[in-house]
């Protein structure tokens, strides 16, 4: 099943969104992106996507605020925090805000793919279980 959007990227660096799309599209995953928290929350793809990749340092509203807002909108949605400043403190804060996983930048295609597949598989499994 192909949806309008599978993976939603929130990152102010256009190249990051492009790179993620480059790797994930051949896997049959649709990628949409937004450059900041406000436009992400207003983006129609957010309601449909199965996974969010969110940067921590965003212009305007911070990445952590974005994670909290998305978590509030869609409680079960997996959110992976991607950051160029990967510290344990940042990771703790991100998980406290509701992030599912933490992926330090820079990553290569296989690291990204592995993580995305794992997260999607576990959500799919959870959804399967929830089905009557």
């Amino acid at each position: 099943m192909t949806r309008a959007c599978d993976v939603f990227v929130v990152d102010d660096e256009r190249v990051v969104g492009d790179a993620i799309a480059l790797v994930l599209r051949p896997e049959g995953l649709q990628v949409e992106s937004a450059p900041d928290a406000e436009s992400a929350l207003a983006h129609p793809a957010l309601a449909a996507c199965r996974l969010v990749l969110c940067d921590l340092m965003l212009p305007g509203k911070s990445g952590l605020d974005a994670v909290r807002a998305i978590r509030a909108l869609r409680p079960g949605l997996p959110i992976v925090v991607i950051t160029g400043y990967p510290t344990p403190a940042q990771e703790d804060l991100a998980r406290a805000a509701g992030a599912t996983a933490f992926l330090p930048k820079p990553f290569d295609d296989s690291e990204l793919l592995t993580l995305v597949r794992r997260v999607l598989a576990s959500t799919d499994a959870a959804e399967e279980e929830r089905k009557p």
């Binding site: 660096e13 790179a19 820079p106 290569d108």
Partner: protein, 665 residues
């Protein structure tokens, strides 16, 4: 120009000398003058006695001519001014000055007053009361001496019947001596004394000038010049401090101060450099990781898709590899910039080791490095920050892998990791982290470190020589440093370099050689003592010995790589030191050292170049009292504790026991 210390001192001394010599001269002159006058009075009295007795018989027999002759003869001798004889009514009966004969003398006149005061003659007067000094017509002084001639039996019974029995005094003999010679002597003595006083003042001034120039002015001028240089920012300056007096102490204190300032400045610069690196790293990491994400993702994606074109795939592989190298460099900088006090939790170190091994497993496999874990079963949990200790283990494992694979012809090798619990005796292991003299002066010297730990400074006095000694802060290890060596076997005395209090305690003797022990106070942990005999290793720390061996968890990482040379060993834990050329940041072991120190643990290295190295990390099962506790988790990333190069100029902290071993991050 303001008068200098020397001029003021000379003036002061000249005034005091002049006053003292003046008063002394006055007293001496007065005494001398008194003695001369007394002598003259006795001479005059003797002379009057002689005249009285020699004219006695002539008087009895009433031979007036003979008496007159005798008086004239004596009266004209040298130094005798005049001799005369009055009768009881004051008429001059005989005189060497013949013009006077027959004249009457007023009984109230000065010469007569002594006896005739109150209107009645006194009969016996002492010599001083009978003498008088007056000035002659030509101005010179004259001493007059009167002698009453008393009535006696032979006088009133003599045939001449000149005197009756009732008269008490028959007449008065008056002898006058010239004082000219005595006065000349007094004036001469006075001149001589003044001359001597002037000479004494001049000599003391010259001496003082010379002394002040040599002892005060020159050292002070040197101090002023150095102080100005320091004020202008030149902290490498020092002044000659050879003098033993207070100015020598001042010069030594000055040199000590500038040395410490210099050291502090150097450390500040180093800390500043590290802090800048930290801020820079944090900023750069974020900025550079975004473009690196693009490069790495695109390149790895293309590499995977280029399976059909091996040449392109290999080229893309280079991009991927080099981009990953950039990633490691940035992460190293971040780790270094981010060292924080550990957040301690009961931690299973075996689990930490397994996780670290898993993290590096791919890299080890690629480098054909095998890894063997020998983990102690049921190793008790250690209060530690699991993330930090994992970082330590990852760093040590990657270092070991590099030491094996980094050579020109990598042939593979193996790493063994062991965990164990060990009981570590205090000797050779416990670090002295506080030290004070009995009066409370801080003796810890952060400017001179051994293996990154501040040493303890004391002053050693052997004979005439005083030398600053930096004691090894590890109890039981005797890697002390001194500015100059001391002969073996010499028993020196040890002082606080600040207040100079003796550090030897009464009755405390070395158990090994019997020499006195000297000690420093450690907060809450009593006194650490060392033997004062050079070469004797005797030492005692009763409070710590009483606690006995302490349990530590020990992690060993041993490789069979290229080893560490003696030279590398010296700088091993220094930030930015690397043996890996462009492949390392020089921060891995600095970070490792900082983490282990932060846990109150220790890290030591043994190595044989060409054979391999063994890193041993020990972490206490009990949180040491003095170890820094976990700070506020919300704290901003800060550059952590790093080993500072010691005062001898950049040599790195040397871990003990120092041997030699592999590469480092």
């Amino acid at each position: 120009m303001k008068p200098g210390i020397g001029t003021l001192a000379i003036l002061g001394v000249a005034v005091v000398t002049a006053a003292v010599i003046g008063v002394m001269s006055g007293i001496i002159l007065r005494a001398h003058q008194g003695a001369l006058v007394d002598q003259l009075k006795r001479s005059a009295d003797q002379l009057s006695e002689t005249i009285a007795s020699s004219t006695y018989h002539d008087m009895l027999e009433n031979r007036r001519d003979a008496v007159h002759r005798e008086i004239v003869t004596i009266g004209h001798q040298q130094g005798i001014e005049k001799v005369r004889l009055f009768n009881a009514t004051g008429t001059v009966m005989f005189s060497s000055d013949e013009a006077e004969i027959g004249r009457a003398v007023d009984k109230n006149a000065e010469a007569c007053y002594a006896c005739h005061a109150a209107g009645r003659p006194l009969q016996r007067l002492p010599i001083h009361a009978r003498a008088r000094i007056y000035r002659a017509a030509d101005g010179h002084r004259v001493l007059g001496m009167i002698r009453p001639i008393h009535n006696e039996r032979s006088c009133w019974s003599a045939g001449c019947h000149a005197h009756t029995r009732e008269e008490s005094v028959l007449g008065v003999l008056d002898v006058n001596l010239s004082m000219a010679a005595a006065d000349r002597q007094i004036a001469h003595d006075q001149r001589q004394l003044v001359l001597l006083a002037v000479l004494a003042i001049a000599a003391s001034s010259v001496l003082l000038w010379g002394l002040s120039r040599q002892l005060i002015l020159r050292p002070v001028a040197a101090l002023i010049a150095s102080t100005r240089r320091v004020a202008q920012g030149d902290l490498s300056t020092s002044v000659p401090a050879t003098a033993r007096h207070e100015l020598g102490d001042l010069a030594r204190a000055f040199n000590d101060m500038t040395r410490r300032l210099n050291e502090a400045q150097r450390q500040l610069a180093q800390a500043d450099k590290l802090a800048s690196v930290g801020r820079l790293a944090a900023g750069v990491a974020h900025e550079i990781n975004n473009p690196l994400t693009g490069v790495l993702t695109y390149a790895s994606y293309l590499e995977r898709r280029a399976a059909a074109d091996p040449e392109t795939q290999a080229d893309l592989g280079v991009i991927v590899r080099e981009t990953k190298r950039c990633r490691e460099i940035v992460r190293g900088l971040l780790d270094f910039a981010r060292q924080t006090p550990p957040k301690r939790q009961p931690t299973d170190l075996n689990e930490v080791v397994r996780r670290a091994a898993a993290v590096v497993a791919n890299q080890l496999a690629l480098a054909h490095v095998g890894i063997g874990l020998e983990l102690e079963r049921e190793l008790a949990p250690v209060p530690a920050d699991a993330n930090q200790i994992q970082q330590v283990m990852v760093n040590l494992l990657l270092n070991a892998a590099d030491a094996i694979a980094g050579g020109e012809t990598p042939t593979g090798g193996s790493i063994r990791v062991r965990s164990s619990s060990v009981d570590v005796p205090p000797r050779g292991n416990v670090t002295i982290r506080a030290a004070a003299c009995p009066k409370g002066c801080d003796l810890l010297d952060p400017s001179v470190r051994l293996a990154g730990v501040p040493t303890i400074r004391v002053l050693r006095r052997a004979g005439e020589r005083e030398v600053l000694v930096h004691l090894d802060p590890v109890y039981g290890r005797a890697n002390h440093r001194a500015a100059e060596p001391c002969e073996e076997g010499v028993i020196a005395s040890y002082l606080c370099p600040v207040c100079r209090t003796r550090l030897e305690a009464a009755e405390r003797r070395c158990a090994e050689c019997g020499a006195p022990l000297f000690g420093v106070q450690v907060a809450r942990l009593g006194v650490v003592e060392w033997c004062s005999r050079k070469g004797c290793q005797g030492t005692r720390w009763e409070a710590v010995e009483a606690r006995g061996p302490q349990p530590y968890a020990q992690l060993e990482v041993e490789d069979d790589g290229r080893g560490i040379t003696e030279e590398e060993m010296d700088r091993l834990f220094e930030p930015f030191f690397t043996t890996k050329g462009t492949r390392g940041t020089g921060l891995g072991l600095a970070v490792t050292w900082g983490i282990v120190e932060g846990h109150g643990g220790s890290i030591t290295v043994e190595s044989q170049p060409g054979r391999g190295s063994r890193f041993v990390v020990r972490l206490p099962f009990r949180v040491p009292e003095t170890a820094p506790e976990a700070a506020d988790p919300g704290q901003a990333p800060a550059p952590g504790r790093v080993p500072m190069p010691d005062a001898r100029g950049g040599a790195a902290p040397r871990p003990a026991p120092a041997g030699d071993a592999g590469g480092r991050a």
